[in-house]
């Protein structure tokens, strides 16, 4: 369906969310110190809601493919009391990750009914990035700092000072239903609003371009075939893995990482099966019961993370499984910077770890 444009003030939007929360579980981004993180809509915390800015610390996948969920016997939606989810403020770097998550859980011979249920019922209210961080490199990965698809409604910041308001783009039936239910909250949008939005989009894109240029971040166009070229460069991998502590944080915060482990337990004598996010950095990730392990060394497992993102998905889906969100850069306690690793892969030169 064709997009249509409206305007809404921040206060009206929050009022709208309060009303929506009667029928939906509504998650909004809150500012906590330097970062934004999703939390359930709470009238007492409404002053710290922040819609523009950049991506939140949790990836979108947390809402569609939960970190830990019971897949047998299935949990009734007790926590959500049967409510569908609305996620507010989702950024483009999360929306493009849905290509990977959908490929894994929605397509092919076997489908994950739990993912599909959440994916189809969740309402995504996206928003443009207004204030990118130095770790943002979506533009290098062929992304944009504003949503282009996979949203039901998108919000673009119109005034950033005291009276924040948004240009509202409605893109789907789900979005239209919300618009129609709360028509009185909106005013019509016009070409001057679109012009303002496009101007801000250009400005933010240029800002990220500057970040890329400043540290010579490699772009997607340079990454074709890098894994084939550098797979055997053991020195490169072991140097880059030298500060890895095998914590798996990069996997957990990554919007495209999808690996999981099934595990069983008994609760009150009743067998249950759990599905939990897993990390390919863990030593046992590929180990078999007989003891053989194709990735005994940590550097082999770090290499595998890159091979999955830049080798496997390039081959099977013609895309790289990195959206440039920069979360892994911030999450890594060993300061492993994916931009620097990619630079090493492309140029064949990299900084030696300081302690070696």
């Amino acid at each position: 369906m064709e997009s249509s444009y409206y305007c809404i003030s921040k206060q009206s939007f929050i009022d709208l969310l309060d009303r929506l929360a009667k029928h939906y579980s509504v998650y909004v981004p809150y500012r906590k110190n330097e970062t934004l993180s999703f939390g359930k809509l709470d009238p007492e915390q409404e002053t710290s809601i922040e819609i523009g800015q950049i991506r939140q610390s949790q990836p979108l996948k947390s809402f569609l493919n939960q970190a830990l969920e019971k897949v047998m016997v299935r949990d009734p939606r007790s926590e959500k009391q049967g409510k569908k989810t609305v996620v507010v403020g989702v950024k483009a770097c999360d929306l493009v990750s849905l290509r990977i998550q959908d490929y894994v859980f929605k397509e092919g011979d076997y489908k994950d009914p739990f993912y599909i249920e959440e994916r189809e019922s969740t309402v995504i209210i996206a928003s443009d990035c207004a204030d990118p961080k130095e770790t943002c490199f979506c533009v290098a990965m062929n992304g944009k700092p504003y949503p282009e698809k996979e949203f039901d409604i998108n919000l673009s910041l119109l005034k950033s000072v005291s009276k924040e308001s948004y240009l509202v783009e409605v893109a789907t039936e789900k979005g239209t239903r919300i618009l129609n239910e709360f028509r009185s909250f909106f005013t019509p949008g016009d070409s001057s609003h679109i012009k303002f939005r496009d101007e801000l989009r250009r400005k933010v894109t240029a800002q990220i371009e500057q970040f890329l240029q400043k540290r010579s971040t490699q772009r997607a166009s340079a990454l074709g075939g890098i894994m084939k070229k550098q797979f055997g460069n053991i020195e490169l991998w072991s140097d880059n893995a030298s500060t890895c502590v095998e914590c798996g944080a990069c996997n957990l915060v990554c919007p495209t990482c999808h690996c999981f482990l099934l595990s069983d337990q008994k609760v009150g004598g009743v067998p249950e099966r759990l599905k939990a996010w897993d990390s390919c950095l863990y030593k046992t990730f590929a180990r078999v019961a007989g003891g053989a392990n194709p990735r005994k060394h940590l550097w082999e497992r770090l290499r595998n993370r890159f091979d999955k993102k830049f080798g496997f998905f390039a081959e099977v889906l013609n895309t790289f499984a990195c959206t440039g969100c920069g979360r892994c850069i911030e999450a890594c306690p060993g300061d492993i910077d994916i931009r620097e690793v990619l630079k090493g892969l492309v140029t064949g030169t990299w900084a030696k770890p300081p302690h070696l």
Binding site: P113, L261, R273
Partner: protein, 272 residues
């Protein structure tokens, strides 16, 4: 929509001790669950865990399934403690299995090691269903010791099945009753009674054995596309989603577990 992570219940109807560490469990699933030879299933010790195994029975028999399981890890230890009458879970079948069509009319050389005979037993039964469709069936098995040979009670009947079935067994270490060959399975691959240029080789065993048998077969002149390997990888979901069993662009669970050497020879992390 079907829940792909859920198992169906199956009763253990028989347990046979094959060796000190290997047992064959006969299961009767409470719902129909067929398979084609070479496909695998996940067996659950309810509330404890699951692991992937290839049925070792004839795929023409659907009401009961055999699984030959070595006690080697957490789940298999628990399975080994189970008895006739106990309940397990079964999920599957998964993977592509053996391409019997490609084997028709050919001389087949089947090489197995240790508990790797489990999927091969299923394959042998499938071949025996139409035994005259195959020009020759040569079986070369290896075990650590005479006591470690699985399916001892059946192997003589396999020999008697047809004139063009040829079986040889070797052990790494003999004892005073052993009259056969002593040495790794690669030592009984010389002078194979097949036309190597047109024959097919099917290999299943521990990773290190698979590697050296493959190299031996190549040295003997088998073409990479004629060597079929069962790739043992860590599998959790069985349906190409959990990410554990990746080999290059493939998932062992979904695209295998049987691959030709041609498919995987240029990939990384194949043998370990």
């Amino acid at each position: 929509m079907k829940n792909p992570y859920a198992y169906i219940e199956a009763d253990i109807v028989d347990v046979i001790d094959e060796t000190s560490t290997i047992k064959t469990f006969t299961l009767r699933p409470r719902e129909a669950i067929g398979f084609r030879t070479g496909q695998f299933m996940d067996i659950t010790a309810p509330g404890i865990g699951e692991a992937p195994f290839t049925p070792s029975s004839n795929h023409d028999t659907t009401e009961i399934l055999d699984f030959t399981i070595m006690n080697v890890g957490r789940v298999t230890t628990l399975l080994h403690a189970m008895k006739k009458g106990d309940l397990v879970g079964v999920r599957g079948p998964y993977g592509k299995g053996y391409p019997l069509k490609e084997f028709k009319g050919k001389e087949l050389c089947i090489v197995g090691g240790g508990v790797g005979l489990a999927p091969l037993r299923s394959l042998i039964y499938a071949l025996f269903n139409e035994v005259n469709d195959y020009k020759k069936i040569v079986l070369k098995f290896g075990a650590k010791t005479p006591n470690e040979i699985v399916y001892k009670r059946e192997i003589d009947s396999w020999r008697a099945r047809a004139k063009h079935v040829d079986i040889e067994i070797t052990v790494d270490k003999g004892d005073n009753t052993w009259k056969g060959n002593v040495g790794l399975v690669t030592t009984i691959l010389r002078d194979l009674p097949v036309h190597i240029k047109s024959a097919k080789a099917i290999v299943c065993g521990p990773p290190i054995m698979m590697k050296f048998v493959t190299f031996k077969l190549l040295e003997l002149g088998f073409r990479p596309e004629d060597i079929y390997l069962s790739m043992e990888k860590n599998m959790s979901c069985g349906i190409g989603k959990c990410g554990h069993c990746r080999i290059g662009p493939y998932y062992s669970c979904k695209d295998g577990p049987v691959f030709t050497y041609q498919q995987i020879k240029d990939l990384n992390e194949v043998w370990d």
